[in-house]
Symmetry: D2
Subunit: 401 residues, 4 copies
């Protein structure tokens, strides 16, 4: 067993963390207030710095201009970037682009890679991933109404999607649509690349989350697809294979998300400690002298450490034994870490008092915008059921250890 | 003992509840999206209906145009109104106006009542209550920097306040300011009425809460007072008596708040049940068939019922034995009910899935805007300390039951 | 609404509470250590004192020698008695005798009352209630294997029961046994009185609970019924009506239990406060100065108060509107109060440190022996499902408030 | 990073686990019921088997007859042994003997090693560690009343100890006693070896824990030391160095305990799954089909995995960077894992229903006897304070990350 930070991560983490702290955290609230569009210049300059430092697109192969980090190294990178809302964006690995890059790289044709992947990795395009539908529980990716009807050399797509993250301003969407309604539940849908300027692609709105619709990358779109016609060449991977491709996307995506959440946890804990140390409660005693605050700090530290080890172990297992072997771990970290994060954020807010609920701190943004962590990719309750049922199979007929 | 709903409340509750459900809930999301200013006409029409029905200003004496409800009856009214964000506003008893009316009625001079109270009750003016300061923990109302220096027949006020609810568009503020810095901790500050058009009164901004700054009544202002000069006649009650007056304001205010929270709880629970019953999970089974959802529903019901009884008992005790006798209960319900509310809202969101975090339901507004309930009027942790220390006094020297 | 303690309870509570505190609490640990048999004389003397004071059998009619308290008054009595493990026993209303008295009084024939009820009320006999079977979930009283076959003028009973509280030393058992296996689920079983000296009645053992088998009244028996033959006259109430009679037994029984639990809560909270005030942490500071301990005290106080109001409201509703109208409340208090109790006991133990887990305090006895509260009468989870499903019916077809 | 089980552990774990499951679990309830004294023969036979298999005294050097496992390996061994109450005892590494062996090995003189350590490792002697005093909070090892007065070549010990685990039948105690009351807080006490047959050593009683006093190894003694006279040669390590030696004992001891707790967790989870799969709820559906049970299983799995990684990481850090570097981790795992364990045990009991609280399953023994885990070695609350204060130091003067 070896719990030491890998050598490569030991080299890049200090510089990356310093950049996030010194260059991103100070401008973050401004960017969120002004919007990503108004902040385009500022963000581009930051991205250029990152590229110059050699930390661009950490999850992509070197030949595509990335760092080619393994999953454990990228997990540690993702935590470091998670210390700012802007981290992943500025380092060229924001969701959903990061996942889209991965499946384009793995399943895309050469033509698709040239046309979509190259500019995506370069940060010259943005993309979105259009799966969730308002009429169906997001936890079940086999139930879907959006259809892609084959007409000659084209697919004609009709459907209603929402929570298509970053649709606003995206150049293309990867859409999950049913191509074989009669097929096996896991073999009905295909993934199709749809340029967002295709007629019939209608971004109805950016859905307001807790009152904030956001814009550009930081938004979640509701989209109507009405007779959207794209060439069959836009099929990504094999026909009817959307579910399998989505699974491939899921494992590393879960690791990225969970480690990003841990970055948020660390930041919130850091802010909690700082505020507690600085806030004077009278008689020269800081808030940090209160035992409840101390307990929150210690409980947060314990839960964060335990979470990190769990995610890194899952990443290590995917890297060493593959996604299938690690699927229990991948389900477990989803709900375990999301709950820890929301609790740590909540405590940090409470320690900040009234300030904590204002937009003067990033905590309130986390509180509102990360609440979805317990819902997206399937609500925590579903993941718990899935894990338990798998575990219980061993006991079904007098089995068990 | 008698747990039956009082006769008067039995009469007004059905009609009030129906009005809230049929007239307020359907327009609520529109008003929140469009803002209170743009919705002024619509809101005035609703207020006129309420006046016509005879339910205006339930907490005010009949001679001032109110219903003159006792505290228990008003508590039940407050819960009914709490089923919509607009309830208290449309019925003429929104915070902070409601509390300001109460102290103006109890401590105001005849001239003050004529100039400020009458139009306030009539709904022709709006007001705010300017107590909390960013530099001091809000939980300790004896620590305050804002000062009111006597100069001849005027006070000259300087200070920095925030979380002055509804300051935006208010006609006047009731300001807590130190008039005797050398005095006993509880006898330093005075309450002073400050018209908001007085030179030096500067509403810096509406503080964004979770990204939403709101406006008009639904906002929380940050205010700079710079040499704000008002006549000494604007003193409310006795000089240096602000703390005692604030205490008077506190008891009924706590009851109103807690019962409003229970209205929110009931609404969230109702939405939770409805969504669970309607959401199809496949195979013809509704979400309501899931045992965890059922447990949430039952646990919410139990906690809400227990909370309501606790608040009503506190209201009853204030009415029958006075504020001082009931101060333990008043502290207890603060943290007990706030926690129940936030948990019920959180569960309702989880049952709604992705929809729950969007502004398409009122749940997300509650989640963001009621988070403050565990902070304002003193964080829960402070109330717990206060209650425990009072209880522990009996044991200090081998005492106890 | 009226939250004041009823006049009659105001009269008896002080004296009863003083007796429990001064006469029962000091001998309680001795009785538990020595056993009920060895303590028979001591307990008889205490019972005689109670009879002399006029507080014997509070739930029984005066003509039978009881106090004839209504349900609310008895609820308050039950809480007062709950301050000692010995309370209900010494006051002539221990479970399961109390419930058996109630159904014998309501459903028994004159002969049965004379032979069994009279000596039971007088404290000259002890009884048990034999329902739960190890092979079936206790939460479902319609599933039962124990059978009573009619043979001429006798029933012949065969079955396996456990958790028959107080079977050890009981004079008779009221047994639930299937008399009509073909009948409707709720009309299969009958209640039959079985003298424990009937051949075939075999008390296999007192089941050790957390290592402590107890004895006499404080025990839970496992019983084999092997061809136990009793006259048909021993049928209690109508044939096949056991379920309905058990329901009658349930409502008041739930109130008694929950209020007894609240007595335990109050005692544990009192001990928590006392220990916190007395335990020196060094530097002259008591444990009570710690904020976490303070929070536990305040949270316990709030939850206990809320629980008590919930139980009293349920008792009031049963008294005023009947068992059927109050069945939601009866389910709710079961799980709500049990959880509060276990949490308060747990905190009290933690405040006592190592002492808390020893048998030198009553807390450890509560911790071990009241853990069953979340299980018996149906596990909490089942009650939550029952409540939720009833609530959800209103929403099933687009219904709801 | 490498999360794979170390090669040596991969070799011994299967056989050890099988032995625990096949040889220890089946006799465990019998031994607990009959007592360790009555079971002496049976236990000796089991120990002989373990010796024959080469797994005796895993934490001791090979030259002393042990396996000489490193801390990580021994951690994994400790979890495997934790699957039975008898595990550590039968494998020759029960607390407090295990810790006593470690300090005798590290600090003992040659004579001490020969007289005390050799037979202890061989399993021919038993020992106890006498530190905690009823009059002082156990969380503060610097406050102690027990004194050892130097008189010529002897120490004369007077004091009152309790929770001296396994004192009953021990051959010697290692006693912490104040030898320099005027010294620095951390340099007042010494460790002294006291044969239990020394005049003045009085084992007053085995303290009943939740009603069960236990005996022999499975007991906690209360001891009076009255003028107990031992030669100065019985001093262990340097004079006044007891605190430092106790610290050395603490780190590995914490790892052993926490991993033993994880063994308990795994066992409880296994029992939970098995019971859920086997218990029929009617209509052919097992208890395992209930979503709440599934959630408990999944949440337990996640928390147990996270706990194990946390403890192993702490063990790895102690092994690689020393106790001092790892002291934060050592504090964190104490309260984190204890809470997880008590929650898992509690859920397992609830899944077992009434059976769960009986002594027919090991769960009730765990529930009662492991409750102390949140108290001994310092209550969880103290560890939280310690961790938080250390963390907060970095922020004290505007510091922080």
């Amino acid at each position: 067993m070896d719990f030491s930070t890998p050598a490569r991560a030991q080299r890049f983490l200090p510089e990356v963390s310093a950049f996030v702290r010194d260059e991103l955290q100070p401008v973050e609230l401004d960017v969120l207030r002004d919007g990503f569009t108004a902040s385009a210049g500022r963000l581009r300059a930051l991205r250029d710095k990152v590229k110059a430092m050699g930390y661009w697109a950490p999850h992509m192969p070197e030949e595509l201009g990335g760092m080619q980090l393994g999953l454990v190294d990228h997990a540690l990178m993702s935590e470091a970037l998670g210390h700012s809302v802007l981290g992943h964006y500025v380092f060229g690995c924001p969701a959903p682009d990061a996942g889209n890059m991965e499946i384009l790289h793995k399943f895309g044709s050469e033509a698709q890679k040239e046309r979509w992947l190259a500019p995506l990795v370069a940060g010259e395009m943005r993309s979105c991933f259009s799966m969730t539908e308002p009429e169906h529980a997001g936890s079940n990716p086999t139930r879907m109404s959006c259809s892609a009807r084959r007409e000659g050399d084209h697919y004609v797509i009709n459907g209603h999607k929402w929570f298509t993250t970053a649709a606003d301003g995206s150049d293309f969407a990867i859409v999950m649509a049913v191509t074989d309604p009669q097929g096996d539940a896991y073999r009905q849908a295909s993934m199709i690349i749809v340029p967002t300027n295709t007629p019939g692609f209608d971004l109805v709105r950016n859905i307001p989350i807790m009152g904030d619709a956001g814009e550009a990358w930081a938004s979640h779109g509701e989209i109507q697809y009405r007779d959207v016609r794209v060439p069959v060449d836009n099929l990504l991977g094999q026909e009817h294979a959307a579910f399998a491709i989505a699974q491939e996307r899921l494992g590393p995506g879960r690791i990225h998300h969970c480690m990003r959440w841990l970055g948020i946890c660390e930041r919130a804990l850091d802010m909690m400690c700082r505020r507690a140390a600085e806030r004077d409660m009278g008689e020269g005693k800081p808030l940090a002298s209160k035992q409840i605050v101390q307990a929150w700090i210690a409980e947060s530290r314990a839960a964060i450490n335990a979470s990190r080890l769990s995610v890194l172990q899952a990443a290590w297992k995917i890297e060493n034994e593959g996604f299938y072997a690690a699927r229990e771990e991948i389900s477990l970290i989803k709900f375990f870490v999301a709950e820890v994060m929301m609790k740590v954020i909540d405590r940090a807010i409470q320690v900040h008092g009234a300030l904590g609920i204002t937009s003067d701190t990033i905590l309130s943004w986390y509180y509102a915008h990360e609440r979805g962590s317990r819902i997206y990719d399937g609500p925590d309750e579903v993941h718990k059921m899935v894990v338990a049922r798998r575990m219980l199979k061993a006991y079904a007929k007098g089995g068990g250890k």
